[in-house]
Symmetry: C2
Subunit: 480 residues, 2 copies
């Protein structure tokens, strides 16, 4: 999961296509109630869809994929030999599951790798702290650097600080991120990571350490990519574990200058191969457009990426497998993509759109927000396809999934495809636990609740059964 | 906290002095109920004791000590300059709080220090694992060693394994430790760490990695001391984080040999200075014996030791401070000791007993099981002092503390003193969260719940008020 939630909330602010379905309250305060129009009866649920959905609640394929990929491959940083092993593992697994047209499509991408990572308070209270370099961080060199901290409680204070307060120092930026159901606190607090380092470089800082963009209190820092604009030299940039960030804030309250020694030796290693793994459930009507689903295969290097995003590839693949095994060829081809190199810049999604952007896609949908239960769905469908949303609402309701009023098309891997005018369907997962673990060494198999994973598979199987067989045409949409 | 809970459960098994107070059920199934004897009325609570207790629920001194020691000193491994800084910090703090006879008593001890720590599965599923060397671990040398794993699900299977199954291999020992209120699962599962490495060395293993003796699922290994008998060369010995241990167990189920590369470069650095910090609330009756309380000042090197055991020194000190400030000199001198070098072998407790064992002690009591609420008290008092336990029962009941039927005298720092025949009073804390964090990098200030810490201070202040002023003689006890 990258900064897609920023895009999501921006989209939500700009568009509420379903809002018109809910009339404003007819009973202003102090006035007699007006009779509401009779509610539209829910769309009937195709018994075949209901049966597929209910059977998927006992799915075992999804967990098997997460368990296998995380155990037999482990971490799979984009562009490394580990990601190549993951592609081979994925292609073999997809073939063994009976998918058609299984292939790997490769591309080249710049690769950054982690080095040594040490931080130590030199004075006034000598002690070591835990941190992890951010993707694209510069290096301090093996000897490290020593400088005073410029402590900012949040991004706002840092943005407003003059360069003179920062020059030659190590910038510290705090945050007060809390868990949110829709993950929107990531969008609110993430800029300290997304753009803080570039801004610190522009203000002349020697380096930057941020409080992890996370909601846990373990000594496991949250890494993640940052970007420096062309022409700006990357400064050393890292995230402190939350307890270590709190330690700095306690020290700062004591009022004495805080001096830190920092060693970060990551490297840009040049261009290397990455790739997407693609598989299909062939449809009967080539003209009806492809249903594109998937997640990303690469993970950060600190953990086995069980929730980010082995679960996403597992959920979407297990759902497609249920259609494959259902005995009825779907109208539309379902294409499952295990995208490469999402974490470090969305290279897999870009490559897919470059190679397949001219093919007709009916919808694109991604699972990249962990493995906790789906609580809401949202769609961005062209006008004539609205009955599909009504049928989704009826079919998903027994899974505890409500209909949202925002747009859809979340997921950085499908972003480039969505931008070409393809409709989106989002199955939103609960974000309440996600940022406890996101991009930390704790993103391991034990974080996946098998029952919640099954609910996800059931939601996706339901969505596929409804959308892939929908008789309506699903044409291009104009994105808000 | 070391292996004291083994001793505690052994003591509980051997003695139940208060059990006679609870008659066996007079109503066997199917028979008419027999009238129980009228219960003994509870001992009255001295209003002064009640007032001290209730005021202590708003204590701020305890949290201030934990916060200060963990922030301003941080980790304080025994025998290092960090522990020396902690002693200086402690002596200054105790003087500032107004304690009398504040002094540092030093001794020499052997010091082991951590080095590099890396583990990597070479085949069949290459990936890095997280682990931490155990105290007194041998070194692999900088180049490390590579060997096949001999996987044992638990200590029992390992104990029963012939040497030929182990020779030249890296032993893995699992466990299935669960949280327990009284911490007894530490005693049940701890031997894999306490004696597993020595046994592995005796069987000819190249090294040993155990599943952490812990109840969490974070990628933070639990260190802790192990011991090799004289004449046995220390082999490399480490604890894997629980998710990493589970990863090995999943790999093992696939049936292929697992090859590991292990780098551990800790060192024994010879003899260095450690010490105890001692402070007193002087009593009015030197002949009545000292009330010895405290916790240990040293911590493991991976964290700031907030619950192990900054909380113990803070709780006991804050409680003694309440007696100091109460305006009434206690009958007995209360001696607070911040013991050094507990984690690595109880050197501070041994030195204290050597230097002070001939002084008359009324009781000894230690707080070394975190910062969660006290739920039970137990005593080992000589016959004539039994009314003290009755008064404790009445005075502690409003804090939700029940009277236990086992013996007392837990705490490795007071073990040597208790062995001389000194009575013990235990205020048992809940162990349900303790082993999530014990000896891991997560033992930081955020683990301390201020309200539960205050309940501890109130319990200790109550105990001190009752015991230090008790008119009864508290003579020597024969330990079970």
């Amino acid at each position: 999961m990258k900064c897609i939630l920023l895009a999501a909330s921006a989209a939500a602010a700009l568009s509420a296509p379903a809002a018109a379905q809910t009339p404003p309250s007819p009973s202003p305060a102090g006035q007699p109630a007006v009779t509401r129009p009779a509610p539209t009866p829910p769309a009937p649920v195709d018994p075949r869809v209901a049966a597929l959905r209910d059977a998927a609640l006992k799915d075992e394929v999804g967990y098997d994929i997460v368990e296998g990929l995380t155990t037999e491959v482990g971490q799979r940083l984009a562009g490394t030999e580990a990601e190549a092993r993951a592609r081979a593992w994925g292609a073999a697994k997809l073939k063994a599951l009976g998918f058609k047209n299984v292939r790997i499509e490769t591309y080249q991408m710049p690769v950054w790798v982690r080095g040594a990572e040490e931080a130590e308070i030199v004075s006034p209270f000598p002690q070591k702290l835990k941190l992890a370099a951010l993707g694209n961080s510069g290096s301090t060199g093996a000897q490290g650097l020593t400088a005073d901290l410029a402590v900012f409680p949040s991004m706002t204070e840092f943005v407003n600080a003059p360069a003179v307060a920062v020059r030659g120092k190590i910038v510290y930026i705090g945050n007060s991120m809390q868990p949110t159901q829709d993950g929107s606190s990531y969008g609110a607090n993430g800029p300290a990571r997304f753009t803080g380092p570039a801004m610190a470089a522009a203000k002349g800082a020697a380096a930057i350490v941020i409080r992890s963009i996370g909601t846990d209190t373990h000594r496991l820092p949250h890494t993640g990519v940052t970007n420096f604009p062309a022409g700006t030299a990357a400064i050393p940039a890292a995230a402190l574990a939350v307890p270590d960030a709190e330690q700095i804030e306690r020290m700062a309250k004591r009022g004495k200058p805080i001096r830190m020694h920092l060693v970060l030796t990551p490297q840009q290693t040049g261009s290397h191969e990455s790739g997407n793994v693609i598989a299909e459930v062939p449809g009967s009507d080539p003209g009806a457009g492809i249903v594109l689903i998937g997640g990303h295969l690469d993970s950060w290097d600190l953990a086995t990426g069980a929730i980010d995003d082995a679960s996403g590839v597992a959920i979407t693949t297990a759902a497609a497998k249920r259609i494959l095994d259902s005995g009825k060829r779907p109208r539309r081809t379902i294409r499952v993509v295990w995208f490469g190199a999402e974490e470090v810049g969305g290279f897999g999604g870009e490559d897919y759109a470059k190679k397949h952007g001219t093919e007709r896609h009916a919808i694109a949908a991604e699972s990249d927000f962990g493995a906790d239960r789906v609580w809401r769905f949202e769609t961005t469908l062209p006008a004539g396809a609205k009955p599909i949303s009504d049928r989704l609402a009826s079919a998903l309701a027994p899974l505890g999934i409500v209909r949202g009023t925002g747009g859809a098309g979340d997921g950085s891997d499908i972003e480039a495809t969505i931008k070409t005018g393809v409709a989106g369907v989002d199955l939103n997962q609960s974000g309440l636990r996600y940022f406890d673990v996101h991009h930390t060494p704790d993103d391991t198999l034990d974080r996946v609740d098998p029952a919640q994973l099954q609910q996800n598979v059931a939601a996706w199987a339901t969505m596929l059964a409804v959308v892939a067989d929908a008789p309506e045409e699903i044409g291009s949409v104009t994105r808000p």
